[in-house]
């Protein structure tokens, strides 16, 4: 494990530089799109929830802005800028289109936001100094998201058999893609990130951390039926899902490179080709 610190992408070898760039772009796009999705819930089932949704949307945008801000140095170091096309977007695949119901919101709030936290916390002691400086603030802000997610999850799960079953369905829709999103074991990307000390563990390690958090909440507290169980001997949470990596792209962290749907992309496109003086 390298003990070095890096201030600039030029100090990284080419393979690591690309892996770090890919990670930051995945985080930036995912947070950007998560912000868009949260922001759509002006009409949440309670006005307090609408306010919380718009607040969380802003946090996601704020974090996306920080991660996008890291990319400039990479472009200067020769990493080509991506084209502004849907298929070039690297957001988590469950954010491609608008969610149908508030239950999808809760599911993403628990799983997507939760996976993002686990990934970002793994950068806490990062050898890449510019990212390390942002982590504490982001983690601080994400705490509220986890509280919100937990509150709604438990409320719905305790509301009766039907809401609970619907909630399970919503969680299962993104269950596997979220677990995949944390990274494929043994991929070149992971090896680069871990050996250069960019993040403190590999995708398998991140998955373990995520399910250690989710198990007590989803299974024990909420009593939901998900492929997750507690090993009586080791006391550890064990995943009952065999992950299928077919088609998984390590740079995009998704199984298909379709990107956001046309309606969503129109909102991103409004950033391009306008005549307004938006400044820096």
């Amino acid at each position: 494990m390298s003990q070095r610190e890096f201030q600039n992408p030029t100090e990284l070898d080419e393979r690591t530089r690309q892996a770090v760039y890919d990670l930051f772009l995945v985080l930036a796009d995912t947070k950007h799109l998560l912000g868009l999705r949260y922001g759509e819930w002006l009409g949440a089932p309670a006005i307090e929830a609408s306010i919380a949704s718009v607040a969380m949307a802003q946090d996601e945008f704020g974090h996306a802005r920080l991660f996008y801000g890291l990319l400039g140095d990479f472009h200067q170091a020769g990493v080509p800028e991506r084209e502004e096309k849907p298929e070039e977007y690297r957001n988590f695949e469950g954010l491609d289109r608008a969610w149908e119901s508030w239950l999808d919101f809760i599911a993403a709030n628990v799983l997507v936001d939760g996976a993002l936290s686990v990934q970002i916390e793994a950068l806490r002691g990062s050898s890449y100094v510019p990212v390390r400086r942002m982590v504490a603030k982001i983690v601080q802000e994400e705490r509220f998201h986890q509280q919100h997610a937990r509150g709604w999850l438990l409320r719905v799960a305790r509301e009766g058999a039907k809401p609970k079953a619907e909630l399970e369905k919503a969680l299962k829709r993104i269950w596997e893609p979220v677990l995949l999103w944390l990274g494929r074991p043994g991929s070149e990307h992971e090896r680069a990130l871990v050996s250069a000390g960019i993040q403190d563990t590999d995708g398998e390690g991140l998955r373990t951390r995520l399910i250690e958090r989710l198990g007590p909440l989803l299974v024990e507290e909420a009593g939901l039926d998900l492929p997750l169980s507690n090993d009586a001997i080791t006391g550890q949470w064990v995943l009952g899902t065999a992950l299928s990596w077919e088609g998984f792209d390590d740079a995009f962290r998704r199984r298909s490179r379709t990107g956001p749907d046309p309606e969503t992309f129109r909102q991103i496109e409004s950033f391009l080709g306008h005549a307004y003086p938006v400044g820096s």
Binding site: W41, F61, W102, V278
Partner: protein, 318 residues
């Protein structure tokens, strides 16, 4: 002994602040509910209108600012609905149970805000109207809880206003097509703001709201205050507005007949078609083109969510 109208009005004249429903007459309570409901609905319905424009934001940063404003507006609506709840009204019904036409927001927030420029002008004009309308009760109202709640609201609206004004200057400095777009937005949004303040004083002077000192200023006074901020801003930006300061009268005067007809489809005021205030009220009652769309946007998931729970409890609570 129940409180008489005269005794209450006398107390208020002496500067007494009403703190709870027990200290109100029926007349006071009715007038208070009416004015609070207009405020709550205005804040609430600005959110979907601003959201519509936020989707056209030209950058992540600008979209972020728009969201911050939307959050504030929802927060203000929430505070105001809570005040209504304290007066015995059902907050949940008010937000999720009413039909679109029952909302009491101004006609301006029944209109589509279709571009970033329209959001900017809305922040400069409509939030200015909000500040003018709310700083009056903030300074003058006889209802204590409202006065205190407005301290936070006032502060945050100032941020929206600054956002609107800074951006208006920025867009106008850019000149060319961008400035023309600002002019087009101002052309329909300025008279919308003027009409917002309602009937002129010579047609309607004494209202319950003034007698109970729920607010302190008349429609014309408030409209003048608004004009004295908005007209100079536009002049500074090189944007034309159909109003000017008249030295002799010592006030702002309009260069078109108020009220006049409006074509919401084309977003166009028909200055050659003067109408009566009764006709204005009819137009307001018919509602603008986006009234239903905005209300549905706010209510739809509540209805779906309640249906999921099959009537065993409501979606709301905490």
């Amino acid at each position: 002994m129940p409180l008489t109208e005269e005794a209450l009005k006398e107390r208020i004249r002496q500067g007494y602040l009403v703190e709870s429903p027990e200290e109100m007459t029926e007349g006071y309570k009715k007038a208070l509910i009416q004015i609070l409901l207009v405020q709550a609905d205005t804040e609430l319905m600005s959110a979907p209108a601003y959201y519509m424009a936020a989707c056209k934001a030209p950058s992540l940063n600008t979209r972020l600012s728009a969201y911050a404003i939307i959050q504030d507006e929802l927060g203000h609506a929430h505070i105001t609905f809570r005040l209504l709840e304290d007066l015995g009204l059902d907050k949940e019904y008010l937000i999720f149970g009413r039909k679109p036409h029952e909302f009491k927001n101004p006609y301006g927030f029944d209109q589509p805000l279709e571009t970033w420029v329209e959001l900017v002008v809305a922040n400069a004009f409509f939030d200015r109207a909000g500040i003018v309308l709310l700083s009056d009760p903030f300074q003058n109202t006889s209802y204590g809880p409202w006065k205190r709640a407005l301290a936070k609201v006032d502060k945050e609206e100032l941020f929206h206003l600054r956002h609107g004004e800074v951006w208006m200057r920025r867009l106008c400095q850019a000149g060319g097509k961008v400035k023309e777009e600002v002019q087009r937005a101002v052309d329909w949004m300025f008279p919308m703001g003027v009409e917002w303040f309602g009937m002129p004083d010579h047609l309607k002077r004494h209202t319950a709201q003034l007698e109970y000192k729920l607010k302190g200023k008349t429609n014309d006074q408030l409209r003048q205050e608004w004009l004295s901020a908005v007209v100079p801003l536009c002049e500074e930006c090189g944007i034309k507005v159909p109003a000017h300061y008249d030295e002799e009268q010592g006030q702002f005067v309009l260069d078109y007949p108020l009220p006049c007809d409006y074509d919401p489809e084309r977003k166009e005021w028909l200055f050659d078609k003067p109408i009566t205030w009764d006709q204005v009220f009819e137009r307001w009652k018919r509602r603008g083109p986006y009234n239903e769309y905005y209300v549905n946007l706010l209510q739809q998931q509540y209805k779906r969510f309640s249906a999921l729970f099959n009537g065993n409890g409501t979606a709301h609570g905490s």
